[in-house]
């Protein structure tokens, strides 16, 4: 039979919807996809095409060249693989199908907070759920006052604007007299937020800013880039997609040497690395100091630049050379013992750095800038770059593809938190980026607030707070006369504190505390903190809502704004986060104020107007095409790269520091925190202190001899995406245990594994005093000896709540301690643990004592199931 005689398959679709399926949340876009729909079914998810409705050349695709090689954008978006697998999220067996109430939570009787995490749930109607939440809000307001309700409306989440997954409850509660705000710390940027800001000013959450045209300048000038804790094949995925790969490949073709400094052969290192320098977790400061030592002793630093551009070099010099009261030089020999890098390699790194035009590349903090005292490596990085002429050709810190790409025409901002959007739409997300509630608790201190109040702390940690705010002293609760009161109710949305923040096991203990009378959770999936809630409200996913999304962050080839039509009907009885809170607002008598009587199209038009898109197109044309792609600005090459203007003329272009210069020594820190040994006025090697004792020099290292590192996950965006079957079945997705359970992988070097009798595929426990996490061993050369690696964000599956986790939620055993005494960031990588095989008698005891945990329904592909926690009424 010839081909023309064969039956053809009908592949027509009814409509093509646009969905931005990255998971950074916060009103931003990324991961632009087309969802093909037929008969109400999502048939396929594929990369969005920039030339769908526009001639590609009219977008003015740019070109960057070096050594005869060139880099240009493609006509298609490059979403991460998990964005393309989004059907598995929307239709996950873990989706919450209808509202739930904990079986033994009775608002009119016994509330049994101690049973949170243990008790199951019964189905209730939306009517009952809305009544319950509304009456609890009313009761708490009456009994304690409005600030007794904690709104946890922040974190990562799906890319939605009108239906943003976060903070609608905060907007409602604000209308009703206020609430206690959970302020989200810059969890991916701690080292720069608490450190670098004091050297080069505000920056962008402490990262170097301005950051225009960094990719062009680095490409044209660098001989070498240091990817210090950077894995551009992982961390951009959930935010901007996969363009970074193409830049790294271009740099390879152009002959720019790419050196990876990290404990692991991370995914980028594995395919782009020209040189891997394995460094023990959280010892980067020792390595940096030794590099500076070599420069000082060999005179290979830019003394003239430092003289005119920096203050405090004398302090650095005395400390590094050991001529100050510290009294010992920070030599390569000294550093080698701390950081595990051979002395000769440290010297070589220092000389290569000094000799070659070098930039330092990141995409978020990786492991290196999220550990105890991460402000020290964060600040030392600024010092190193300053000593080599920061802002000069090819001397930058760059967050690869987050910033630094060619500028778009007519786009107001490329910030994380799109400032062009009006308050009506951004206010829910303020909970994440500002400190604005009358009474607030940093996210890292929630458990302390519940268990150890009153609290005093400096700085809220709000992501976009100014540097000065770090000196503001806060108390929790605030004074009674200002309405201060301890919290008694928590209303959380898309929560992931247990698995993504500090000491999740203590979060669990706090959620079971008897002062917390009511916990309301809204989320599409029954996971993490939902398991400790009293009322659970089923939210829905991006595919199920009509919205508009602005992809303005850099990283995709082009910025775009798209009308996001509904692809599929809501799963079960789910509603959007906005619709849920609107229904509760209505019950409480705030319905009109909450919705403002605005339709979805009204809100879409508000975004169009706020973005001043009328200067670029018409509303009618935009609405018909459903998408607008920004052209490259004709004069993009004129934007001065990074700190170039400061480099050229620091007096006329001062930094946002008190002196206007790079402050290697911060008089401001010295004035505000004169006794702070953990974050002294200039960066030092801080091995231990009152907040942490998590290095191999600790006495505890006798019991816990391995250093654990935890990066942002490859197959999730923090907690999101753990149920994607097709990711779980990859070699780094999950490890299929002997018992049929899919365990989160732990990477362990063959030598460390052999010493413990561990083989690849074994179910092992990683533990310290804070608890036990069960994981599956991946024994391989992708991790240096003495270090084990577990991605954070695996869904918590309590075997013993607060003690033993089977889901691989590694942060359950992360330190509770903050970044340091006066810095309320998190320290969730670079702490000591041990790893051992689980003994048969342990399994037997757990199975005997916690039979319910083992009997829970479980999906062999996707893992946790919604119905594991639901019983008939």
């Amino acid at each position: 039979m010839g081909d023309k005689d064969r039956k053809k398959v009908d592949v027509s679709v009814d409509k093509v919807t646009i969905k931005n399926l990255a998971m950074g949340g916060l009103l931003g876009g990324g991961g632009e996809c087309f969802v093909d729909v037929k008969d109400g079914k999502a048939i396929r998810i594929r990369p969005y095409k920039y030339d769908w409705k526009t001639d590609f050349e009219s977008l003015r695709p740019w070109t960057i060249t070096r050594n005869g090689e060139s880099l240009s954008p493609l006509s298609k978006a490059l979403p991460a693989p998990f964005s393309l697998a989004y059907k598995k999220r929307t239709f996950s067996p873990n989706r919450i199908k209808f509202p739930l109430k904990r079986v033994d939570w009775d608002p009119n009787g016994e509330r049994n907070p101690q049973n949170r995490g243990k008790s199951k749930y019964v189905r209730i109607s939306w009517e009952e759920a809305i009544d319950l939440v509304a009456s609890e809000v009313t009761r708490i307001h009456k009994e304690y006052g409005p600030l007794a309700i904690l709104a946890q409306g922040d974190g990562h989440g799906e890319n939605k604007t009108i239906h943003t997954p976060h903070g609608h409850q905060a907007r409602l509660l604000d209308m009703m007299g206020g609430f206690t705000q959970q302020v989200r710390n810059p969890d991916s940027w701690e080292g720069w937020y608490w450190g670098a800001k004091h050297v080069w000013g505000q920056g962008f959450q402490g990262m170097m800013s301005p950051a225009a045209n960094l990719i062009k300048d680095i490409s044209e000038n660098c001989d070498m880039v240091l990817k210090w804790g950077c894995d551009e094949e992982t961390t951009p995925w959930g935010f901007t997609g996969q363009y970074a790969s193409r830049i790294s490949q271009f740099w390879t073709r152009a002959g720019i040497k790419q050196v990876y400094i990290c404990p692991d052969l991370n995914y980028a290192n594995a395919v782009h690395g020209d040189k891997w320098i394995p460094v023990l977790p959280n010892t980067d400061a020792a390595l940096q100091l030794a590099v500076i030592y070599v420069w000082l002793t060999e005179g290979t630093w830019d003394k003239e630049y430092v003289k005119t551009h920096a203050v405090g070099m004398d302090k650095i010099e005395a400390y590094v050379l050991g001529t100050d009261e510290d009294g010992f030089p920070k030599t390569p020999e000294w550093a080698s013992k701390k950081c595990g890098v051979p002395e000769w390699t440290i010297k070589a790194l220092a000389r290569q750095f000094a000799k070659n035009t070098t930039s330092i590349i990141h995409y978020f903090g990786g492991s290196a800038f999220r550990g105890p005292y991460s402000h020290e490596p964060g600040r030392l990085e600024c010092v190193m770059l300053g000593m080599q002429g920061l802002g000069g050709p090819g001397v930058h810190q760059a967050q690869m593809t987050y910033f630094g790409m060619p500028r778009a025409e007519g786009l107001g901002s490329v910030r994380f938190f799109n400032p062009d959007l009006p308050e009506r739409l951004t206010k829910p997300c303020w909970t994440t980026v500002h400190a604005w509630g009358p009474q607030l608790i940093p996210k890292t201190l929630i458990q302390d607030a519940i268990m150890k109040a009153p609290l005093v702390f400096h700085g809220s940690g709000g992501q976009e707070c100014q540097t000065e705010e770090q000196f503001t002293k806060y108390t929790y609760p605030i004074e009674k006369e200002k309405g201060g009161v301890p919290i008694h109710m928590i209303w959380t949305d898309t929560p992931c504190r247990i698995t993504c923040w500090n000491h999740g096991n203590w979060t669990i203990d706090a959620m079971k505390h008897d002062s917390i009378e009511t916990i309301v959770a809204q989320h599409p999936w029954l996971e993490n903190e939902c398991l400790y809630a009293d009322i659970i409200l089923p939210a829905n996913t991006t595919l199920e809502v009509e919205d508009i999304v602005t992809t303005v962050r850099q990283g995709p080839h082009f910025a775009s704004v798209s009308i996001q039509e509904q692809s599929v009907r809501p799963v079960g009885e789910s509603k959007s986060d906005y619709e849920i809170v609107a229904a509760i607002a209505d019950k409480l008598g705030y319905g009109d104020e909450f919705t403002g009587g605005l339709s979805t199209m009204d809100l879409q038009k508000i975004v169009f107007d706020a973005m001043k898109m009328d200067k670029l197109t018409t509303w009618e044309d935009f609405y018909e095409k459903k998408t607008y792609v920004y052209k490259t600005a004709t004069d993009w090459e004129q934007d001065p790269p990074g700190f170039r203007k400061f480099y050229e003329d620091p007096k006329s272009n001062p930094l946002l520091t008190p002196s206007g210069l790079l402050e290697f020594y911060s008089q401001r820190l010295a004035d505000h925190f004169p006794d702070d040994k953990e974050r002294p006025p200039f960066p030092q090697w801080v091995e231990r202190g009152i907040t942490h004792d998590e290095s191999l020099a600790s006495e505890r290292a006798g019991m816990f001899p391995l250093l654990l590192m935890s990066n942002h996950p490859r197959w999730r965006t923090h907690a999101q995406g753990d149920d994607i079957v097709w990711a779980r079945e990859t070699p780094t997705g999950k490890v299929l245990g002997f018992d049929g359970y899919n365990y989160e992988p732990i990477w362990i070097n063959p030598g460390d594994a052999e010493a413990r009798g561990i083989k690849d595929g074994d179910v092992v426990k990683v533990f310290n005093e804070r608890g036990i996490v069960l994981v599956g061993a991946r024994v391989w050369e992708r991790i240096m000896p003495g270090v084990v690696y577990v991605d954070h964000g695996a869904r918590h599956d309590p075997l013993i709540p607060g003690k033993v986790d089977r889901g691989g939620a590694i942060n359950t055993i992360a330190p509770n301690g903050l970044t340091s005494k006066n810095c309320c960031g998190q320290a969730t990588s670079g702490y000591i643990v041990d790893v051992q095989k689980v003994k048969n008698e342990e399994w037997e005891a757990w199975r005997r004592d916690y039979p319910d945990a083992f009997a829970r329904k479980y999906d062999p592909g996707a893992g946790l199931r919604f119905d594991a926690w639901v019983v008939e009424r």
């Binding site: 594929r46 393309l84 790969s245 490949q249 000769w344 290569q352 990711a727």
Partner: protein, 272 residues
């Protein structure tokens, strides 16, 4: 005639190809080109990963493995049922999902293990080249190539890829199947290390390394600013002797280097 050309050097191992193959085929029925692919455990597009070397000289590569759409396909020969397995005019090899009787002969016949048996549906399944989409007219490439962000997976007319095919290799040429999937830049073995001076605790830059094979052929390398040297593109299971020479140091020889695996000789001390 269509071909796949896959540049292994460009593949970053993101698995988008494997995911979108499932996105297209899990839960969608494109009969007779394909009935649904099982959700887990089967991979019509299968990304294979390889970790080579030891800390800190470790590299990875990934090979996307799919039906090789052979011109001399053993599966077609093995299939006894008229019209089930066939080669299209564009070169793609297909299994008619409506006609397959589930005899498994093709599964056993494929040297590439690219044909899977679906127990639930009782039929053999594999990469179709997304023939259903190509036939629809709007698609020019299959899902895997559409989703590949580095253009490592290329698909198109054979003559358009003539230059690349000339440089490419095929998998398992000894099987003689004449596959229509071509691979570029599959790495061969490496021998690597770092040279340092134990007295000065310094790397040695510019040391000359000579790697001599059992057949007497030699290649040379020079250490870089990190003291590193890399010999790449070496054959499997070959034996070598390495000679290290640097001004001011005694020449050092390392015998018995065998490339059964990639070899990291570690940090090598050079005496004066």
């Amino acid at each position: 005639m269509k071909v796949f050309v896959i540049d292994v050097d460009k593949c970053t191992g993101c698995y988008a190809c494997q995911f979108v193959c499932k996105d297209e085929h899990v839960g969608n029925d494109w009969s007779p080109i394909a009935k649904p692919q099982p959700d887990t455990g089967q991979f019509w597009m299968h990304l294979k990963e390889y970790i080579r070397g030891t800390v800190p000289k470790v590299e990875m590569h990934y090979i996307p493995l799919l039906c090789q759409h052979c011109d001399d396909a053993p599966c077609i020969k093995a299939c006894d049922v008229e019209g089930v397995m066939y080669k299209r005019e564009d070169g793609l090899v297909e299994i008619d999902a409506d006609k397959c009787i589930g005899c498994r002969m093709c599964v056993d016949a494929c040297p590439y293990d690219a044909i899977y048996f679906n127990d639930d549906l009782n039929l053999a399944q594999k990469c179709t080249g997304c023939a259903h989409l190509l036939d629809g007219g709007e698609w020019k490439v299959p899902r895997c190539a559409d989703a590949c962000h580095t253009e490592a997976i290329m698909f198109g007319e054979e003559e358009d890829f003539a230059d690349l095919i000339a440089k490419a290799e095929i998998l398992m040429p000894e099987e003689g199947c004449k596959p229509r999937v071509y691979y570029l830049n599959i790495p061969k073995k490496f021998v690597a290390g770092t040279i340092y001076d134990p007295a000065a605790k310094e790397i040695v830059e510019g040391a000359t390394l000579t790697l001599k094979g059992a057949d007497g052929a030699t290649c040379t390398a020079t250490t870089d600013g990190f003291g590193d040297f890399w010999f790449r593109g070496l054959a499997d299971d070959a034996s070598f002797t390495l000679t290290i020479a640097a001004p001011g140091f005694a020449t050092k020889t390392i015998d018995g280097i065998v490339t059964a695996k990639d070899v990291n000789l570690g940090d090598i001390a050079l005496a004066k």
